[in-house]
């Protein structure tokens, strides 16, 4: 599903002394099947932006098109529900939204709301619990008896169970241990590839953005300042610093190696695996020179 934002702006508490402009002039195009990372410093408007993506917030300026639905500032929108099913949002700390008696019921909440038959919803829940690496016994447990990491996985399962075609992730791994982070990010990537999902990842982790995304947008003080390919964006460390961001660890490591050998590597590597291969090439070349 294509998502197009045009000159979108949003102000909180409009018309009161507490009015706060959180977004302005945001232009962004998210095409079907892409993996977008939205990065930016705290308070840059990332979370506000993503709430527009399924009409939880409506723009106070500009317009936005989600699939066939167009939302124009100041006009009433009809028929939001189908959009809500199509676009699944995993909010920050999604475990706060758990409420039902059992994990199974909680995961089935979303699909049942959108009219999925009970048997189908239950089937999805069972599959997802396994995919997310939880033991199947948890299905009958209360979500409040689980550990923090398990609760997070259940909450994510609750969103995935709606089988959205666009997945919006707001720092889905914040507060998890490194292994849990990696497992969950890998799962999202697998789903993105296998199901052809459009994925939008809001993150503080440059490493995740570099590793998974094919498009990166930088938010700064309420607007989208740069939108491009991770290769180009992470190559320019000076520009990143201007927006109080830094390059991913792997890029910084590559720069050190380049300083050491006195020449740039053939390409900018965004994953450790790529960099290892490049370094391998260099070592082989150096040996040949000897």
């Amino acid at each position: 599903m294509d998502i197009q934002l045009q000159q979108v702006g949003y102000a909180y508490a409009k018309g009161t002394p507490f009015e706060k402009r959180a977004l302005f002039d945001v232009d962004l195009h998210i095409s079907t099947g892409s993996y977008h990372a939205i990065i930016g410093h705290t308070g840059s408007g990332k979370s506000t932006l993503l709430q527009h993506l399924n009409a939880l917030l409506k723009p106070s300026e500009g317009s936005l098109r989600i699939g066939d639905l167009t939302i124009v500032a100041g006009k009433k929108v009809k028929n939001i529900r189908p959009i809500r099913q199509q676009i699944g949002i995993v909010f920050q700390f999604p475990e706060h939204q758990l409420f039902d008696e059992t994990v199974l019921k909680d995961i089935m909440f979303g699909p049942l709301n959108f009219g999925v038959p009970v048997e189908e919803a239950e089937r999805r829940a069972r599959v997802l619990v396994e995919q997310l690496g939880l033991p199947s016994e948890v299905l009958e447990k209360s979500p409040f008896d689980l550990s923090g990491g398990q609760m997070r996985r259940v909450a994510i399962a609750g969103v995935l169970a709606m089988e959205p075609s666009v997945l919006v992730l707001d720092e889905p791994t914040a507060g998890l241990d490194p292994r849990g982070r990696q497992e969950i990010m890998e799962l999202f990537h697998k789903l993105h590839v296998e199901k052809g999902l459009t994925t939008i990842l809001v993150t503080h982790s440059m490493e995740d953005a570099a590793r998974y995304a094919d498009h990166v947008a930088i938010m700064h003080e309420g607007t989208c300042v740069i939108n491009g390919h991770p290769q180009d964006i992470f190559a320019d460390e000076e520009r990143l610093a201007k927006y109080r961001l830094e390059a991913p660890r792997v890029v910084r490591f590559q720069r050190k190696i380049e300083a050491l050998i006195g020449r740039p590597l053939a390409k900018l590597c965004l994953t450790e695996e790529d960099l290892a291969i490049e370094i391998g090439h260099v070592i082989r070349e150096e040996r040949g020179n000897l």
Binding site: Y12, T16, P17, N54, R84, F91, L98, F144
Partner: protein, 265 residues
């Protein structure tokens, strides 16, 4: 929706009203609430209204903002107004249409009650809008101090009050967040039959309670590790200061009460 609520909100400023000591403001509001009931004719009500408007001007809070805050109780005001209009049957008959009869006294009473509401809501809103919750509790604690003799746990009450005030915005934000998360999962509070709507509240309330209890526990632990032992022998960082302004409004309250008493019929 919740952004519009003005209850418990504080707008910083440096107007005359802002500079008053919380104690004098609290005393004034209590006295005012009592003397509003002295008024019983057009002159006294007009005086109350004029006084309130002057206070609004002095506080430099935009009037339309106060009116916005009035909206939640507008229904109650309208209801009491209509009740008086339709059920008081004294004075001359002003208007009659089929079985609906409006009498002069009913109209009078309706208008008076509405003014009373308006004046009370404005004055109390100005108190909370111009005084930070912390100063209100400080003021309360000092004012209630004499009741300690009767074993009233004044410090604990003040602490409870400041904690609840402190957490109103936090819980509001939390509600908003959970509401949005459940809306994203297809739950819908704003449409459907009443039964459906009540059912849709459960996924909102349970997470809210869970997080409120968790917060309470965290706060208790945080206070305990910092050695909180209750109010005994505790000194204050924020000292209250009574100055000429405070004396002035105490006098104003007294004068207002006397004038109202003289003018009432």
């Amino acid at each position: 929706m919740m952004e519009k609520m003005i209850f418990g909100r504080y707008i910083p400023g440096d107007s005359f009203v802002h500079k008053l000591d919380p104690r004098s403001k609290l005393i004034f509001v209590f006295v005012f609430i009592a003397i509003v009931f002295i008024a019983n004719n057009a002159v006294t009500y007009a005086l109350l209204l004029a006084f309130t408007l002057i206070t609004v001007l002095l506080s430099r809070i935009r009037l339309y903002f106060l009116i916005n805050g009035l909206k939640p109780i507008l229904f109650l005001m309208l209801f009491t107004f209509l009740l008086h209009i339709f059920f008081t049957q004294e004075g001359d008959l002003l208007w009659k249409w089929q079985f609906i009869e409006i009498y002069e006294e009913g109209l009078r009473q309706g208008i008076f009650i509405s003014i009373r509401f308006l004046v009370l809501v404005f004055i109390t809103s100005i108190l909370t809008l111009t005084t930070s919750p912390i100063s209100i509790t400080d003021g309360m604690e000092v004012l209630l101090n004499p009741f300690k003799r009767f074993k009233l746990p004044v410090h604990e009450l003040a602490l409870m009050m400041s904690i609840s005030l402190r957490f109103i915005p936090t819980l509001m934000d939390e509600t908003d967040k959970i509401l949005k998360a459940q809306m994203a999962r297809g739950s819908d509070i704003s449409s459907g039959t009443i039964k459906e709507r009540i059912k849709a509240v459960v996924p909102l309330l349970i997470p809210l309670f869970v997080s409120a209890f968790k917060r309470a526990e965290d706060l208790a632990v945080a206070m305990e590790v910092r050695g909180y032992r209750g109010g005994e022998g505790r000194t204050r960082y924020r000292q209250l200061k009574w100055d000429w302004r405070d004396t002035i409004i105490m006098v104003v309250a007294l004068v207002l009460a006397i004038i109202l008493w003289l003018l009432r019929s």
